[in-house]
């Protein structure tokens, strides 16, 4: 008994108690049991870092984490861009020009974001190709592959919706063509297009929809599927190399940390360094503001959509549905269903000639389509000069200093006077009769009298004439004097006031 008591006391003295009085850590701990949680986080971190990789760490496995890193970079740069961007057909282009030309580091951050979208497509293709060649979609990784396919589609959705947001010529016209493709879908195509555009034509509502898709909806889905994808990956475990005896692989198994972490970190560094150099030395461009009335503009999508764009050109007759809908849908389905169609456990690519040939054929085909499109654009006597003209317009716009937008209430009186000759005469009467002394030179009002901007909306000609000649009691109390003018001057003054809306 005495021994027991002694031991217990000694332990209390030797072991630091987590809830010691008087220390901040102890205080927090008593309320949150933080040290317990920290132990749990520690063990979770250990589980993550000690994830065994059969056959050891390899540079071939860096693409997945590279994509995660790029997604993070897009989220961060995207959040910063929204600090200045406004999704409005009136202001979007001005705000992007402001970011690009005036805000400190604005061109750089927009560049990281814009080039980042291309980088995602490249790393995505590398990731998919690695997964395909290593046969890592097989066995218990079916669901993992499907989650990856969903992420692929979501990423393409991100780049499609993001392309419109700067609201310059190429953004506007490329999206017009892109959304038009939907009409090829039988029965519901037209309705789908209207749903996406927020009407039959491209406009403000299209921009709002694309903005919501780009910054809220699709990112939320991506986040969810990234969690699912990573969870399923951890569940299934790393696939490891394509050949080697199980015993040998077991022997050369390495934990995720440190070597693979190091490889992943180096790849992330390579990506951000590449993006940084590009953003700095080849600043991302912005063209002139979208002009829907321009009938000459030849739209071209972002480079990774060019092969699809070229493919669509071949299907213009009644067979369009097959080329534009059936074949791409079939290829897409084939892609998603790959782990169900190819069920053999064989992972070595040279033992899977059919699958590898189809895969190579699709990618070489897409590459060839891109090359043909590029060659046609260079050779076509109608298109080449127009494309050159468009490039020149972009260069001219980029060289011009930033032009701030004239704010709403600015110079309403002066603008009205400029655009309407009768109102212009009326403004002279306004200035001459001393109206400006109380109502202000810009009609914005002074302490002595209210603003007259919008007075044309409030009163019609007859009513205005009435209150000018005989001000209401309230007006007279405020110091308004009856206007005593020649009939024609009164008419001019009324025309001016009516024009100021």
């Amino acid at each position: 008994m005495a021994d027991h008591t002694y031991d217990f006391e000694r332990e209390r003295r030797v072991t630091p108690q987590p809830s010691e009085h008087g220390t901040l850590q102890g205080w927090i701990d008593r309320r949150t049991s933080l040290s317990d949680r920290r132990k749990r986080v520690d063990s979770l971190l250990r589980a993550v870092l000690d994830e065994p990789i059969p056959g050891g760490a390899s540079l071939a496995y860096v693409f997945g984490s590279g994509l995660l890193f790029l997604f993070l970079s897009q989220v961060i740069t995207g959040m910063f861009l929204v600090l200045y961007y406004i999704p409005s057909a009136d202001h979007a282009h001005t705000t992007v020009a402001y970011i690009t030309k005036e805000v400190t580091s604005g061109s750089f951050i927009r560049g990281i974001h814009a080039y980042g979208s291309s980088a995602i497509v490249i790393v995505l293709l590398l990731h998919v190709t690695q997964t395909f060649l290593f046969g890592s979609y097989k066995g218990r990784r079916k669901l993992l592959w499907i989650a990856g396919c969903v992420l692929f589609a979501l990423m393409l959705g991100m780049s499609f919706t993001g392309y419109l947001l700067p609201w310059d010529q190429k953004a506007y016209f490329a999206t017009t063509v892109g959304t038009n493709i939907l009409t090829y879908i039988p029965f519901v195509g037209g309705s789908l297009k209207s749903l996406l555009r927020g009407g039959t034509e491209m406009g403000q509502l299209t921009l709002s929809r694309f903005f919501v898709l780009h910054v809220l909806l699709i990112p939320a889905f991506i986040l969810f599927f990234v969690v699912v994808h990573v969870f399923l990956f951890r569940r299934a475990g790393a696939a490891g190399p394509i050949q080697g005896e199980p015993e040998a692989l077991k022997k050369s198994t390495e934990p995720f940390y440190p070597k693979q972490v190091l490889f992943d970190a180096l790849f992330a560094l390579l990506i951000i360094a590449g993006l940084g150099l590009l953003a700095h030395y080849a600043p991302v461009e912005l063209g002139p503001k979208a002009n829907p009335a321009d009938t000459q503009y030849v739209p071209r999508p972002e480079w990774y959509y060019i092969p699809v764009f070229q493919w669509l050109k071949y299907w213009e007759s009644g067979l369009a549905v097959i080329g534009i809908l059936v074949i791409p849908a079939f290829v897409g389905l084939l892609f998603v269903a790959l782990p169900f169609l190819d069920r053999r456990p064989e992972r070595r690519p040279w033992k899977r000639p059919v699958a590898v040939t189809i895969y190579a054929f699709i990618f070489i085909g897409l590459g060839a389509l891109g090359a043909i499109s590029h060659r046609n654009d260079l050779r076509d006597l109608n298109i080449a000069p127009q494309l050159a003209k468009q490039r020149a317009a972009v260069d001219v716009f980029m060289k011009k200093p930033f032009q701030p937008e004239l704010a709403g209430p600015s110079l309403i009186a002066a603008t009205v006077a400029l655009t309407n000759p009768v109102a212009s005469e009326g403004k002279k009467v306004y200035d001459h009769e001393g109206c400006a002394e109380c109502h202000g030179n810009d009609l914005a009002g002074t302490l002595a009298a209210p603003t007259l901007i919008g007075v044309g909306d409030k009163f019609d000609d007859a009513k205005l004439e009435g209150i000018l000649i005989k001000p209401t009691d309230a007006m007279a109390d405020g110091g308004m004097l009856p206007v005593d003018l020649k009939d024609e001057d009164l008419k001019l003054l009324i025309a001016f006031l009516e024009a100021v809306k």
Partner: protein, 195 residues
């Protein structure tokens, strides 16, 4: 009483793990943690480097907000050659608000003293902010609101205003009169710039 054995057990296992594996874990941990430290430090350095443009991006309006003095053209000096009494001129005032600009027209009076030196007054009455107007026949400025009166060189003659008309800074450049338009606080005896 009951939890004594438990306390004992805990004490023993803690001791055993410290004594038993302590040496081995120390070695493997130090190699791993050195790498971790390097990786962490490298990551932190690169992260800090990357956050520089982001910080500059956010702080842009803080450092660029100070507007340059808005000097505006009030007309050719030649035009004022034959001026004998104050003349009214509208000057355009531009204010930047991020990617927007607010433009407004403000009235000023350009005057010439006996030596031929040009000066400019704000037309805003220092009483309650109405616009004063020049009356040739009475040879003074009159505010239409409360009948404040000022001489041709802006001095207070009578009425409720607390001070004379506010003189604006002006200079002559390339044969043009350039004015620095500012707003002044009303109802105070001394001129006070508010914007």
């Amino acid at each position: 009483m009951l939890d004594f054995p438990e306390g004992m057990a805990n004490g023993k296992t803690a001791g055993a793990s410290q004594g038993g594996h302590g040496g081995w874990r120390m070695i493997s941990c130090s190699r791993r943690s050195l790498l971790g430290l390097l990786l962490g430090a490298g990551g932190a350095t690169i992260g800090a480097l990357l956050s520089v443009p982001l910080l500059r991006f956010v702080l842009h309006p803080v450092f660029k907000a100070a507007l340059p003095l808005s000097w505006t053209e009030a007309g050719d000096v030649k035009d004022f050659a034959s001026v004998t009494s104050p003349v009214k001129r509208l000057v355009k005032i531009e204010q930047r608000d991020g990617w927007r600009k607010l433009v407004s027209e403000k009235a000023i009076y350009v005057c010439k003293d006996a030596k031929g030196k040009l000066s400019a007054f704000s037309s805003i009455c220092p009483h309650l902010g109405c616009s004063v107007s020049w009356h040739d026949e009475e040879n003074n400025f009159v505010c239409p609101c409360h009948n404040g009166q000022f001489t041709a060189d802006g001095k207070l003659m009578g009425g409720p205003p607390p001070r004379g008309l506010d003189l604006l800074e002006c200079k002559i450049e390339d044969g043009k009169l350039i004015v620095h338009y500012q707003y002044f606080r009303q109802l105070v005896p001394n001129k006070e710039v508010i914007a």
